[in-house]
């Protein structure tokens, strides 16, 4: 079976009729947690993988629209219900704590990169290349700080990591404050040569610290 996500047990979560490969989505309760799964034949896919990713993501979004979730990484397949139960039960305290803490939160992603400025100049020296990289990073960092400053207290927590082309930031936002957050960050000015993309709301995976041995 294919595992989608873990949520707190609630009486009523509206789940989509079908998930990846059109299989029915169902849940398995483990203590106070609820795991969403569907049947999944290992030897497929019949559809292209992007279609499967979209179907998987739609299930997550549908459930996440109603409650906090901890997603499983796609494609997490489990051999049996017993295996899934054993795995989730062994970490249930961590999952319950994270779901409780993030119950009313969503994650917004801010990706700041340098716009491509034509073909790379292969004759530039290594020093020039490094200087340019440093300048881009500095500019991306200042845009990222502007996002933080403008969003103010609406984003309770930020985290970021460097990427090959710039910076990726993650804001933890109350569900109820999402529209305010979007209004605020729409005012951020991005200088020429820098691209900023904001996507979300995503499950706040960047703010879940669960150690897997």
């Amino acid at each position: 079976m294919l595992a989608y996500c873990i949520a707190e047990q609630q009486r009523q979560i509206d789940i989509p009729g079908s998930g990846v490969e059109g299989a029915a989505v169902r849940w398995i309760d483990v203590g106070g947690l609820r795991c969403f799964v569907s049947d999944f034949a290992v030897q497929m896919p019949r559809e292209p993988v992007p279609e499967m990713v979209k179907a998987f993501s739609e299930v997550l979004q549908r459930i996440f629209a109603q409650t906090a979730i901890i997603p499983f990484r796609f494609p997490t397949m489990v051999e049996s219900e017993a295996v899934l139960k054993r795995f989730v039960a062994s970490r249930s305290a961590e999952y319950e704590s994270a779901l409780h803490r993030l119950r009313d939160k969503v994650q917004m992603d801010v990706r700041i990169t340098a716009k491509p400025d034509g073909p790379e100049n292969s004759t530039q020296s290594g020093k020039n290349y490094l200087q340019r990289k440093r300048a881009i990073y500095k500019e991306a960092q200042s845009v990222q700080e502007e996002f933080r400053r403008i969003s103010g207290s609406v984003a309770g927590k930020w985290t970021q990591r460097d990427t090959s082309g710039g910076i990726r930031g993650f804001a933890l936002v109350d569900r109820a404050s999402l529209s305010t957050f979007l209004e605020k960050i729409a005012r951020v000015h991005t200088p020429a040569g820098i691209s900023a993309r904001v996507t979300g709301p995503w499950p706040p995976s960047e703010f879940v610290e669960i150690v897997h041995e």
């Binding site: 290992v42 109603q66 990484r73 051999e79 993309r197």
Partner: protein, 84 residues
């Protein structure tokens, strides 16, 4: 929690459906709980994606049984690839 969260939004100066799909793929493939395991996804006997040890929980024997049902996988040999 009755409040509905809106659909994924995209704000920025690079709006593109392809990029949104890339965001989806990035999120579902790179974030989330990991269970250890091992598998190759195959289509018509050709390996599509090798899924690392971190993604799936099933015994190797079970995975191999499932893969065996689809027939032997056909990978181009190193020699054939080098000839191209």
């Amino acid at each position: 929690m009755a409040e509905q969260t809106p659909e994924i939004v995209l704000i920025g100066n690079e709006e593109s459906l392809d990029l949104t799909l890339l965001d989806l793929i990035d999120h579902v493939l790179n974030t989330g709980v990991i269970i250890r395991g091992n598998l190759v996804l195959s289509l018509a006997g050709v390996d599509l994606v090798y899924l690392g040890l971190d993604l799936i929980v099933t015994s190797v024997e079970t995975a191999m049984r499932h893969i065996a049902k689809t027939g032997p996988t056909k990978r181009p040999s190193i020699r054939r690839r080098l000839k191209r």
